[in-house]
Amino acid sequence: MATIDLPIKKRDVEVIDKAVIRFCGDSGDGMQITGNQFTNTVALYGNDLATFPDYPAEIRAPAGTLPGVSGFQVQFSSGDVYTPGDSVDALIAMNPAALKMNLADLKKNGILIVNKDDFGETDLRKAQATTNPLEDHSLDGYRLFSVELTRLTRAALSELGLDAKSMDRCKNFFALGMCFWLYNRPMDSTTRWLEDKFKTKPLLAEANKRAMKAGYSFCEATEAFQISYEIPPAHLSPGTYRNMSGNQALALGFVVAAQKAGLKLFQGSYPITPASDILHELSMYKNFGVTTFQAEDEIAAITSAIGASYAGALAITTTSGPGMALKTEAMGLAIAVELPLVIVDVQRGGPSTGLPTKTEQADLLQALFGRNSEAPIPVLAAATPGDCFWMAVEASRIAVRYMVPVILLTDGYLANGAEPWRIPNLDDIPDFPVKFETNPDGFQPYRRDPQTLARPWAIPGTPGLEHRLGGLEKQDVTGNINYEPLNHEHMVRLRAAKVEAIVQDIPDVVPAGDPDGDLLIVAWGSTYGAITAGVNAQRAMGKRIGHVHLRNLNPLPRNLGEVMQRYKNVLVPEMNMGQLILVLRAKYLVDAQGFNKIQGRPFKQSEIESKIEEILD
């Protein structure tokens, strides 16, 4: 457990309730690390927070250019935080390209820290800037702090004997140190992290620590800032918290699910942005008996998982949109042979390779319908980074209880975004033990449980249960190949009924906000934060709004149609061209309106509020 030693209170400390800061620089400048360290520190202090890492698809675009700009935004507050923030209170820009790409989001009179040493002629040319913004008065509306980050970092590290390149790599920690001073945060968590990360390279640990302290001392000594800020801890529900990203939460969720099911966990996966971190995480958990298999391609990733499920494992495969497309045929196989499987789609912008590092929600219809023939599949979606944990458990539970493949949708924003996560007590999560078939007397591979319509899970190695599975149409109960017309219709309807039956096992929706009124917002996935914040703000002004955030997209909760009728208007915001709304209109004949953003970026709270005002005012 961290100890929190607050630095000595400084001259003028203004207590505020929230702040949004963004670190941006070249993708080689370590902005993601800087942002994560700042985030961990404010989290440990007890602020509520949400983060938005935004990085380019190129690993190292040419240094200093516009496509190479990487950013990390965090909102932290003494109140509830639902989004990383619409606009930025403090922007740290490491070069002219970063400044150019990010300045529009900085509030008027916001704090702007730039590295003065990187505004030379070449730097400006790389950023396609015709004049120097530090001199052309374009930054007059901001509180500009033009700091010689490179020179000051080198000066702080001069005794360590590092080469210039290694010293310059520490300048992000100088900037981080400045931010810690600015927001009155201690450096001890980052210090511990550096010592651990550079365990075998103590010199680098020392260099980064010195750079950070130098940044902190620079603010202290120069009186550059007239004021610093204090944001008191938030009032979160009691418990133990940690900072949690969506991909990390998924990995933990599946490890927990396997234990709750009494099964071994198998992950078949092929690296793809932004899903690869799930594989990285799970591959570290070998001591939990987790088997991770980096397959030769997306198809082998899912088919190996089907083989693992056949063997009796909790099998998952994790990917993003292009990988989903490749896995499609195999999903049909899992549906036909009725083996449990969880398919995670961390959505990103498309079509094709699209925007690998940017977020989107445009795979919903693919998840619901994107297979040949009648191939229904349960679909779930996580709403927040921490919710990914719970959805991983829930998807696993449904898969093994109903003997079906299940699709779990998240997206790039959830995958990389982070929030404080209350660590659950394991005993509070119900077990869902799996019972394999062992009795050969009268065994039939497709005999069904009357309640769930699940067939028995009969794994190879069990005496007397030898049987054949396959993708050809089969007779119910016996599983023998059967091409008769009426049998096919029976089987198609049966597979659909099995998925529909899951509705008995999922909760009815209870709208947040008003239980009836002028407007219901129906949404799913990562839009949760912006919509919640927007609805709260608009309700505070007296509007009567409800918010239903769907985590079950197939089957849909039983009472959804009835709930939608309680409101005069229904609005469906989505980061796509209108996919959920298509389903809602078709299924419920509801005159819902869409609100669509397809920019590779999440909704802003202000955008949601404007839309609400447009409808209700």
Binding site: K286, G461, L465
Partner: protein
């Protein structure tokens, strides 16, 4: 407690009640019969056998053999089997596949299964044609072949399946022929004893769409002139009168006539355990040259390579031994945490 000994398994135990739907006269019947004869002799309980297939005529195999069976999708049997084997290394898993399934749509899975050395036995039925889709050329069809999809002849150079397997560093590579029943049974039995991936190409006749594709190899009068049977530690001799041999001349193989001063001692002695895959590759390649016979038997048998599933499960055991069995409550609380009090 009294121990009961189960009666030994027989061929009948491996037959199913399903109607076999291969064309009358298809080579697949012989392969099925050979496998059903060998399985009961292996001393493995029936429930440990799993037969996994992809799509194609050959891939109907699991329906006709009374073991656990899984008829998957086109080309993916090796990947399904790999997942199965990783989660249960004790199973005896056989993959039934064809030239299109394993070498065209599933080529990627085939090479990766072999280079990983997953403990799977692969029966590749090579009939040099697409049968189930009614007669298009396959990746093993000879160049220029006229088929339904190539009325003017194929432009594709074919794969030699054993060359591909050897090139993938497969640890057991063999070839047999559907009409050489005893040789087929012996080869299948040898494959079953191999620890890692065992790859058998079975030259198989499709009497409907490519009848006589292996005529040179199987035709009674000519077969001894066109086939050399590889046996470990024995010289490469062939010919109706066993009067021809294969000799190594530098890096090249050459066909020699025995007699006139050339004796068996001059011939290449087959070493299936030769450490270099280039040796087996040279053997695999000779049939492409005029005057050379087609080799059958075990080309390569390399026992020292660990099975993939063992390496993977050993790694898990090692990590558990080093770190201790994972504590889930601790894992959830890993890293920096903080308390919020009521």
């Amino acid at each position: 407690m009294a121990t009961t000994t189960l009666p030994p398994l027989t061929k009948k135990d491996f037959q199913t009640d399903q109607e076999v739907r291969w064309c009358p006269g298809c080579g697949d019947y012989a392969i099925l019969s050979a496998v059903q004869s060998v399985f009961p002799e292996l001393g493995i309980p029936r429930e440990k056998f799993v037969v996994i297939s992809g799509i194609g005529c050959s891939s109907r195999f699991p329906y006709y053999i009374n073991t656990f069976g899984f008829h998957t999708i086109h080309g993916r049997a090796p990947a399904v089997a790999t997942g199965l084997k990783l989660m249960n290394p004790d199973l005896e898993v056989w993959v039934a596949t064809g030239d299109g399934d394993a070498l065209s749509i599933g080529g990627n899975h085939t090479i990766h299964m072999l280079r990983r050395n997953v403990g799977l036995k692969v029966l590749l039925f090579n009939n040099k044609i697409y049968g189930l889709t009614k007669g298009q050329y396959s990746p093993t069809s000879e160049i220029g072949k006229k088929t339904k999809s190539t009325p003017y002849g194929t432009a594709d150079r074919p794969f030699n399946p054993v060359s591909l397997a050897i090139g993938s560093e497969a640890t057991f590579v063999a070839r047999t022929v559907d009409v050489f029943m005893q040789h087929m049974k012996d080869t299948i039995k040898r494959a079953s004893g191999h620890k890692g991936s065992a790859f058998i190409e079975i030259l198989q006749n499709c009497n409907i769409f490519n009848d006589g594709a292996w005529h040179d190899v199987t035709e009674k009068e000519a077969r001894s002139e066109h086939v050399v049977q590889l046996e470990h530690g024995k010289p490469l001799i062939f010919g109706k009168n066993r009067d021809k041999g294969i000799r190594l001349n530098g890096f090249e193989l050459e066909v020699v006539q025995l007699g006139n001063g050339i004796t068996e001692a001059d011939l290449l002695i087959h070493d299936e355990t030769h450490p270099r895959p280039s040796y087996a590759f040279t053997l695999a390649h000779m049939e492409h040259r005029p005057g050379f016979p087609t080799p059958i038997g075990v080309l390569r048998n390399w026992a020292d390579v660990p099975r993939y599933e063992d390496t993977v499960s050993d790694q898990i055991k090692d990590v558990i031994a080093k770190k201790g069995k994972g504590d889930l409550a601790k894992l959830l609380r890993a890293g920096d945490t903080w308390e919020v009090r009521a």
